[in-house]
Every structure is written in structure tokens, then in C-alpha cells.
């Protein structure tokens, strides 16, 4: 089966001359449709860079990225923007919301670019998503009037507005306390169950254990892959999975 995203021999470096550093060093990776994948690794290993490369937010030096059969690396600026708007959703560590807009407008922002005429329907959809994610009633609030956890849900609602095939998360729980982080992960798991592919970058073992596959990156290459298996929070407190993953990570770090 054709993967939803395929990265082939991707290289990406930063800096020039003697200060040049290869952050992605010929990395190849496949993400299947409907998968829930976590990318882990030490700081500076290239996790976030891989995420930005696979989502077309950043160009690659060599190699290529195929999304749903299309060569992302060959797309022009506008085509990339269209691809992100219509097929992808993003959740960042910080809420990345616009201060000028209230919460509802922030959620509507990407979809309204094309769908102004369907404003009423889109507003209805945003309201429904807000209800689902537990932030109903905050529509008209300024973003300064919501908590970090609430704002992250706003970010998730915005990501879901375009019915994306995949959601990219760059440390989506990194700035949250453990209660909020758990709620966000529960939400993402729910979204995943509806068939949406999710690719997360995380440092948090607790977060990674809730995914189906963990990729470990070291020095710009995939150093290993771990399959925690399907997680069912109703039957499993997750402790055993966390211990197993921690042991594997320790092993990887020694490699």
C-alpha cells in the first residue's frame, strides 16, 4: 500500500562554511494512512526539522517528500500553501494564534480563505468542534482570556476545520501541565480513531506511549523504531507501556 507520506533520503543543513551542520542526514521514512506516529530523540537530533520537511513547511536540500502521491519537494509556494490548507492540520507547542482575532475567528481563519460564502456553515462546524473539544462558550473571547490548555484545543479545532488527512504536532503538549497534556492526547487519540493520520514530535514518554509507532532520531537519521501496540486507556493505566518504552529509549541513547 502506498504510504500517505514518504520521505526519501532527505538532507537538510543549517549554517554555512565551517559552521555548517547536517540536521537531516539522508533520512527516509514512510507514514501510512491512519497511523499515529511519535518522533522522539535528543535535542538537536532533527525531530522538528523532519516534521517541517515532511509537511512542506520547510524545503529540503536533497531527497524528496511524497504526500499522497504528489512530490511535495517539486511544488511551488502557492501549491504548498494549498496543500497545507486542504490536507494538513498543525498543532504547535505554543498556540500560534493571531492576537487580533477572537477564538472563533482564529479557528475559522484558514477555512475562511476559500469559504467566505459558506461562513454560516463553517461557523456551525467550528462551534461543533469547540463543543467536542470542551471549549464551547469561548467563541467571542480574546485569546488572552483563555488558559494554555484551552488555547491548545483552539489550535486543534483550527487544525480540524479543513478535514485534514494528517495532523502534524510539534510538541503539542510541551507547554502544558500533565492534566491538560493528558486531555489533549485523549483528544488526539479520538481524532485518530476517526481515521486521521497523526505525526507528533515529543520528548514526553507518556505522550509517545499513546501512539502506535515511535521513531527515534539521532544525528539526523532514524536510529530505531518501536511499536508500543494499540493503546486502550479503558483497560490499561499505561505504566507498563511507559516502562517498556523508557527502557527502549535508554537503549537507543546508548547506541
Amino acid at each position: 500500500m502506498q504510504p500517505l507520506i514518504r520521505g526519501e533520503n532527505i538532507t537538510k543543513s543549517f549554517g554555512v562554511g565551517t559552521e555548517k551542520r547536517n540536521v537531516l542526514d539522508g533520512i527516509s521514512v514512510d507514514i501510512q494512512q491512519g497511523e499515529f506516529v511519535a518522533v522522539m530523540g535528543p535535542s538537536g537530533s532533527g525531530k522538528s526539522t523532519l516534521l517541517y520537511a515532511l509537511s512542506g513547511m520547510d524545503s529540503v536540500d536533497s531527497g524528496r517528500v511524497i504526500f499522497d502521491g504528489a512530490n511535495v519537494s517539486a511544488l511551488k509556494e502557492n501549491e504548498l500553501a494549498d496543500l497545507r490548507r486542504t490536507n494538513m492540520g498543525f498543532v504547535f507547542q505554543q498556540p500560534t494564534l493571531l492576537r487580533n482575532l477572537n477564538i472563533l475567528d482564529n479557528i475559522l481563519l484558514p477555512s475562511m480563505r476559500d469559504g467566505r460564502k459558506h461562513g454560516a456553515r463553517l461557523t456551525e462546524k467550528a462551534t461543533m468542534l469547540m463543543e467536542k473539544t470542551g471549549i464551547a462558550g469561548l467563541e467571542k473571547r480574546d485569546i488572552t482570556q483563555a488558559s494554555g490548555g484551552q488555547l491548545q484545543r483552539v489550535g486543534i479545532c483550527r487544525a480540524l476545520m479543513g478535514d485534514p488527512k494528517i495532523i502534524f504536532g510539534d510538541e503539542p503538549t510541551g507547554a502544558l501541565n500533565s492534566t491538560s497534556a493528558n486531555e489533549i492526547m485523549r483528544l488526539l487519540a479520538e481524532i485518530h480513531r476517526t481515521g486521521v493520520t497523526i505525526l507528533l514530535v515529543t520528548h514526553d514518554v507518556g505522550v509517545a506511549t499513546k501512539t502506535e509507532r515511535v521513531l527515534f532520531i539521532l544525528d539526523g537519521r532514524i536510529a530505531g523504531e518501536y511499536l508500543p501496540g494499540v493503546y486502550d486507556e479503558t483497560r490499561d493505566d499505561g505504566k507498563a507501556r511507559e516502562e517498556a518504552l523508557t527502557a527502549w529509549l535508554a537503549e537507543m541513547n546508548h547506541v
Partner: protein, 772 residues
């Protein structure tokens, strides 16, 4: 370390550094030039007037002169130090024939004079009193400079050949504003030519103490001495001499204020963009314990360096241009006594600009104090408060495109940020529209209504000659029998004593005749119809504190008469102080007569003008359009040139400020741009949002600018015009220009600048600006 940071920063932002430096250089150059010119001009005027021994009081008079009576008055008046009467032989311009042509078309009253023996000397270019030999002539410097005459060439005056021995400086009559020009010839030559012109007398006094001039003027009037021509004083000569160059200095100062303002805006925008760029670093520096003063120093060093280099460059340039600008002052007035102070004042003014710029930069950098290290480190950009436009919601938007909505929303949410751009655009619209409207108004046919004359075809002026009344009657008799003349009127201006409320009296010029033939537009009331009625020009009315219905007391034919003010009218001629009435007084001094006529067939105008000019050589015959052109042609042309220059300045200002402003915004909005790009907005979308912001501010700016131009601008111009004598001044607007072309020009300037200003937005990388 500072030097390294400085070098790197300048390398990174070459264009903005260069622009700022150039504006600083231009500003300092202009300020230094203005300072140097002021010192030199005031000094040179003093030198000229001291060397010339300019009279403190001059009364011009044509006709009989009772010298004995004048001498007795001078002797009895304690204030008088010196007294003389000089003759000025008014010769028709056509009688002056130079090798390059005659003065036939000159609007000046050209005439011959002899050198004075006691004061009011005519000087050569070395500032020495000229001694002229028979057969020699000294020519007013304006004609030498204008290339009409050359030293060494010959000139024929009324058939007599003279050699041009040199240029002369005349502290009394050389300014262009003075309507007469004196040519200096020897006593013998003057006497020989006397029959070819009319003699006008200059009755001149020098006083012991200039402070007593007011009292002296009153005493002269009270004594009822010769006075059928203009009265001029030392202060007026000083003003006339300084006016042309003074205006140039005023313009330079005005432009330098504008340039300094632009330099400040350049610095402000580039500095703010830089602070936004370095926001995180500044936060980090504060977080690790650097003091605000330490951080400020890094930035201050750069701008102080730019200001220093710019100031030095400006001062250097001022030295280059100084001589060219001083040439005119030196030529017309000679060296200034305090010329040595000029370079010092130049340096002082340049230093002042430099200190002001440094202080301004220091002030702008004061915002470092408000940067929260936590916020800066966390967000990397300033988190200004979003306020306003809260009810302008995307979810409720059904009409505007999303990009346009976001653009307008941004302006509404961050109003304070856009105020500067709005102000510049309002100013630009104002600067474009007001001079254009003014030019359009004074160039229009209806402008004659401000000149105190009714509309007619032909105008004959009889002045500075003897027997004016007889000459006017002679022309009137011919006109009455001329089939080609549909109607005409003789209006004679005479002077009368008017008794004021404070029991003092003043001389009033009253134009007498039938004012119903060519009626003019009255600001208030109507034309005088009865012998006990008088209409006043608005300046006279306001100076005397009279309105329609009030009465004034005039001494007519030796008796006091009470006249009712029946109307007021605009008059820009004769200093704006005239009056109109229908009574007659054969005993009063006649100053001049004007005959205006309308032709039965206007196509015969040129023919009739030629015929009357030929027949009545003593009169000046002109068509009304030509009269306006001669009176205001220079002003109209200068105003036209100024209005086009204003358009250029305003557009350049718009382009520069919009460009700098948009670049600053893009730097400030990096994060928001990256977020929008991450969620699928294209570069074109981002640009469209900035265009929407610009267009929104532009529309507001043009609307406010146009409104201001047509209200405040009209009032300002009206106030200036009122000081010259025009009441209820209103703009005559050329709608195609004011409401179509000027908005189009401004829109093009703003759109082009926004386009270039947003080029950087395309280079903003999502990963670099969003990555946590």
C-alpha cells in the same frame, strides 16, 4: 565590540542606513545654509543701508513742489537730521534702447537720477558712492544680472547715447517689489534729457532717532505738505530689500523642517523594525542582567554614527552650495559685516540637528524599558495589546474577501500603529491639493473679482503725469465718439483726509466715478450710488473698524463730510487699501485715473488697444487679461511651479514613508505571517492583506486630507489672502485634478510602495518563526 556590531548592522541594512544618512545630510545642509544666509542677509542689508545712507522717510510726489515750505518744515521739526529733495526723471521704457533690446515691455517705471550729495547714495559694486561722468550711465544691477545690459556697451536714452559704466546698488528702489528703477547719469546729461520725461520728486528725510518716525509721519501729514505719491519708510526699504532672499530662506527653513521630520520618521521606522528583529535578543540581554543603558548603547552607537556622518556630510555640502546662494545677496547688497559669524552659526545649527537626532534615537530606545524579558524570550516579538475592531468579526463577515477583512481588521485593532502613516498621507493629500487649488483659483477668470475692478475689455491707466484730469477727459471725449466702444467709465483716484475715531487723521485713496457701469462683486452691501455714500476695501474697513451702515468723516473740498459705508469689496491692488465713491472734488490731489471700456465687438480689442496706445502716448493701454497677467502673471506662474513641486514632494514623501512603514510592519508581523503561511495562506494572500491595510489607510488619509484641504486649507489661504485684501476667499476646485488625478497619483504611490515593502514577507520562513 560596538564597532563590530555597527559594521554588521550597516552591512545588513545598507539601503535604510544610506537613506537615513542622506536625509540627515540634507536636513543639516539646509539648516546650515539657512543659518548662514540669515546672518549674511541681515548683515548685508545693514551694510548696504548704512553705506547708502538710506532715507528714513521718503514721500514721492508728482507735480508742483514748494521747496521753501518743505525746507521750513524740516528746519522746524526737531526730529529731522537731514532733508533733501531729489528728482527722478520718469522716462518711458521704450526710450531705453540697449544693444539687446529696449525696456518697452518692462512693467517697471524706469527713470534717470543724479547722485545725491548728502544721503540716499547710489553705490557701485564695491559699496562706494558713484561719481558719474558725462556720457556715462550706471544701470540698476537687476538689468545687468538679467542680461539686458552689459558693462561697456552703449545704451540710448531718448536718443542720447551713453556708455554703461557699471551696475549700481540702490537701497531704496532696487528690490523687485519697488516699482521704480533709477539709472544714474551726470547732472549735465540729466538736464539735457529733462524734456523727454516727467519729473517726480523724492522728498527725503533722515531723522536723529528712528523711534520718532511715527510722530514724524503724523507731523508731515498734519502739515499738509506735498504727498500725491507713495510714502515709504526705512523699515519698508529694509523689508523690501530682505524680502526676496528672506522668502528663499523661509522656504529653505520650511523644507528643512520637512526633511528633518522625514529623517526622524526614517529613524523611527527603521529603529522599530530593528527592535522587532532583535526582540528576542533584547529580551535575552535583559534576562541575563544587562542594564537598559548598556543595551541602548549598542543601538545608539549606530544611529549616532549615522547622524554624525550625515551631519558632517550635510555641513560639507552646505559649504559647497553656500557661495551659490550667497551670490545674489553679495551682488545686490555686498558683503555682510558679520560674515565671520556665519560659519560658526552653521556649525552650531548642524550640532543642534545632530544632538536632536541623538536625543530622538535615545527617546525611541526608551521602549526597551517596557520589553518584558519573559515575553520576548517566549514569543520573540512584541505583544502589543489588540484593541478596537472587536465587533468586526471574521465569523460575521459576508461581504469582504478574507484578505481584505484581515487587512482592515488589523488597522482597526492596532490603530495607534497606523496613526503615523495616516498622518503622512493626510499631509501628502493636503500638500498636493491646497497649492493646486490655489493655483487654479488665481489662474481662473473670476479671480478679477478679488482685484477691486469690474469685468471689462480694456483698461487705460493715466498716472505719474501732470494734468491727469484733463488727459482723462481728452480720452473720454474720444471714446464717447468711438462707435467701437459700447460703454466706458472714467474712474479717478484722489486722496482725502479721513478723520478717525481716535481724532487722528489718515489719508484715504478714493476712486471716484460711476461704479455702476462695470459693477464688481461686493463682499457686503452694494456700490455707492449717492454722493454721501462710500464703499471700502475690506482691509480699509477692518482697519478703520467700519462695517456697512457705519459712517466716516472725510475732508472734501476743505469741509468735513459724513459718508455712509454702503459696501465692502475685495481688493488685492494698491496694498488692498482703497475706497470707492461717486462725489467729486476738483480741488483734491489726483493720483491717477483709470478708464475702463467694453467694446461692441471684442474681436477688435487688439486693434483698439494699438490705436489708443498710439494716440495717447502718456497713457498705458492694456486689455484686462494682460493687466492681470502683468500684475499677477509672475505669481500665477510661480504658484503653478510651486504646486507641481508640492506634488513631487508629497508623492516622494508618501513613497518613502509607506515603504519604510510597511517594511517595519512586515518585520513586526513575522510571527503572524508565519502562522498564516503554516495554515495555507500564500504570499499573494499576505501581500493582499497588506495592500488592504494600505488602501484602507490611504482612503481614510485622502478623505481627511481632501476635507482638511477644502476647509482648513481654504481658511489658511483665505487668511493669507485676507491680509492682502481679498474677502470671503473660496477655492475654485478643478474636480478632475482634486478628486481624480491626485487620488490616483497617491494610490499609485502607496500601492507601489506596499508592493515593494512586502517583498520581504515572501522570504519569511515558517519554521524559523514558529519553531518553539
Amino acid at each position: 565590540m560596538y564597532l563590530r556590531i555597527l559594521r554588521n548592522d550597516i552591512r545588513r541594512s545598507k539601503a535604510i542606513t544610506l537613506t537615513t544618512m542622506l536625509f540627515v545630510a540634507a536636513a543639516t545642509m539646509l539648516v546650515a545654509l539657512a543659518a548662514v544666509l540669515v546672518v549674511n542677509l541681515s548683515g548685508a542689508i545693514d551694510t548696504l543701508m548704512t553705506q547708502s545712507k538710506t532715507p528714513h522717510f521718503t514721500q514721492m510726489h508728482a507735480g508742483e513742489l514748494d521747496t521753501a515750505r518743505l525746507a521750513a518744515f524740516a528746519q522746524q521739526n526737531q526730529a529731522v537730521a537731514d532733508f533733501q529733495t531729489l528728482e527722478f526723471l520718469n522716462v518711458d521704457g521704450a526710450q531705453f534702447v540697449f544693444e539687446s533690446g529696449s525696456l518697452a515691455t518692462s512693467v517697471q517705471d524706469n527713470g534717470l537720477a543724479m547722485q545725491s550729495e548728502t544721503f540716499d547714495f547710489l553705490l557701485n559694486l564695491d559699496g562706494e558712492v558713484i561719481t558719474v561722468a558725462d556720457g556715462e550711465i550706471y544701470v540698476p544691477i537687476t538689468y545687468i544680472q538679467g542680461g539686458i545690459a552689459r558693462v561697456g556697451e552703449t545704451v540710448t536714452v531718448a536718443g542720447k547715447r551713453f556708455t554703461i559704466a557699471g551696475a549700481l546698488r540702490d537701497s531704496q528702489m532696487q528690490p523687485l517689489l519697488s516699482s521704480s528703477k533709477r539709472f544714474l547719469v551726470s547732472h549735465n546729461d540729466f538736464t539735457a534729457l529733462k524734456q523727454f520725461g516727467s519729473v517726480e520728486y523724492l522728498i527725503e528725510f533722515r531723522l536723529h532717532n528712528m523711534d520718532r518716525l511715527g510722530a514724524f509721519e503724523a507731523a508731515y501729514t498734519a502739515a499738509g505738505l506735498e504727498a500725491n505719491g507713495p510714502t515709504l519708510t526705512y523699515a519698508l526699504f529694509r523689508l523690501f530689500n530682505g524680502l526676496a532672499d528672506g522668502l528663499m530662506i523661509a522656504v529653505i527653513l520650511l523644507v528643512s523642517v520637512l526633511v528633518i521630520a522625514i529623517a526622524f520618521l526614517c529613524i523611527r521606522f527603521s529603529l522599530l523594525a530593528k527592535i522587532e528583529d532583535d526582540y528576542r535578543e533584547i529580551g535575552v540581554m535583559k534576562a541575563i542582567g544587562l542594564r537598559v543603558a548598556d543595551i541602548k548603547r549598542i543601538y545608539l552607537t549606530q544611529y549616532v554614527a549615522i547622524a554624525a556622518v550625515g551631519s558632517l556630510l550635510g555641513y560639507g555640502l552646505s559649504l559647497l552650495f553656500r557661495d551659490a546662494l550667497l551670490a545674489n545677496i553679495r551682488l545686490y547688497m555686498g558683503e555682510s559685516a558679520n560674515a565671520t559669524f556665519a560659519p560658526l552659526l552653521g556649525i552650531f545649527s548642524v550640532t543642534l540637528v545632530f544632538v536632536a537626532i541623538s536625543a530622538y534615537v535615545n527617546g525611541v530606545l526608551g521602549r526597551f524599558r517596557h520589553i518584558s524579558p519573559a515575553e520576548a524570550v517566549r514569543f520573540g516579538v512584541s505583544q502589543e495589546k489588540a484593541g478596537g475592531g472587536r465587533h468586526f468579526r471574521l465569523s460575521a463577515n459576508r461581504w469582504l474577501g478574507t484578505n481584505m477583512f484581515l487587512g482592515i481588521k488589523d488597522v482597526l485593532a492596532r490603530k495607534s500603529l497606523y496613526v503615523t502613516m495616516l498622518t503622512v498621507l493626510v499631509l501628502a493629500a493636503f500638500i498636493i491639493i491646497v497649492p493646486q487649488n490655489l493655483h487654479n483659483t488665481i489662474a481662473s477668470d473670476t479671480f478679477i473679482t478679488y482685484m477691486g475692478v469690474g469685468n471689462s475689455d480694456l483698461r487705460i491707466d493715466i498716472q505719474q503725469t501732470d494734468h491727469i484730469a484733463e488727459k482723462a477727459a481728452e480720452i473720454a471725449a474720444v471714446m464717447a465718439n468711438d462707435q467701437a466702444i459700447a460703454r466706458f467709465v472714467v474712474l479717478t483716484t484722489q486722496t482725502f483726509r479721513v478723520q478717525l475715531n481716535d481724532s487722528s487723521d489718515e489719508r484715504l485713496k478714493v476712486e471716484l466715478g460711476d461704479h455702476s457701469v462695470f459693477p464688481l462683486t461686493y463682499a457686503e452691501g452694494r456700490a455707492p450710488a449717492a454722493a454721501n455714500e462710500i464703499a471700502l476695501s475690506v482691509l480699509n474697513a477692518s482697519e478703520m473698524g467700519k462695517t456697512v451702515g457705519d459712517v466716516i468723516t472725510l475732508v472734501i473740498d476743505g469741509r468735513t463730510s459724513t459718508l455712509t459705508v454702503c459696501g465692502t469689496y475685495s481688493d488685492l491692488t494698491n496694498g488692498g487699501k482703497t475706497a470707492k465713491a461717486v462725489f467729486s472734488d476738483p480741488s483734491a490731489d489726483t493720483m491717477w485715473s483709470v478708464i475702463t471700456a467694453e467694446l461692441a465687438d471684442p474681436t477688435l480689442l487688439d486693434e483698439k488697444i494699438a490705436a489708443y496706445a498710439d494716440r495717447f502716448a502718456f497713457a498705458k493701454v492694456s486689455d484686462i487679461d494682460e493687466y492681470i497677467r502683468q500684475t499677477y502673471g509672475g505669481t500665477i506662474n510661480a504658484m503653478g511651479a510651486a504646486s507641481y513641486a508640492a506634488i513631487g514632494v508629497a508623492l516622494a514623501l508618501t513613497v518613502l514613508i509607506t515603504l519604510l512603514f510597511i517594511r517595519m510592519l512586515v518585520a513586526k508581523d513575522r510571527y503572524a505571517i508565519a502562522v498564516m503561511k503554516a495554515f495555507g495562506f500564500t504570499n499573494a494572500d499576505i501581500r493582499a492583506q497588506y495592500v488592504a491595510r494600505s488602501v484602507f489607510v490611504l482612503l481614510l488619509g485622502m478623505l481627511l486630507g481632501t476635507l482638511l484641504a477644502n476647509t482648513l486649507g481654504e481658511r489658511l489661504v483665505g487668511a493669507v489672502m485676507a491680509s492682502f485684501g481679498a474677502a470671503s476667499f473660496t477655492f475654485i476646485v478643478n474636480p478632475a485634478f482634486a478628486y481624480l488625478l491626485s487620488p490616483l497619483l497617491m494610490a499609485s504611490a502607496v500601492l507601489a510602495s506596499t508592493f515593494f515593502g512586502t517583498l520581504d514577507a515572501g522570504h519569511i520562513k515558517i519554521s524559523e518563526n514558529i519553531k518553539d
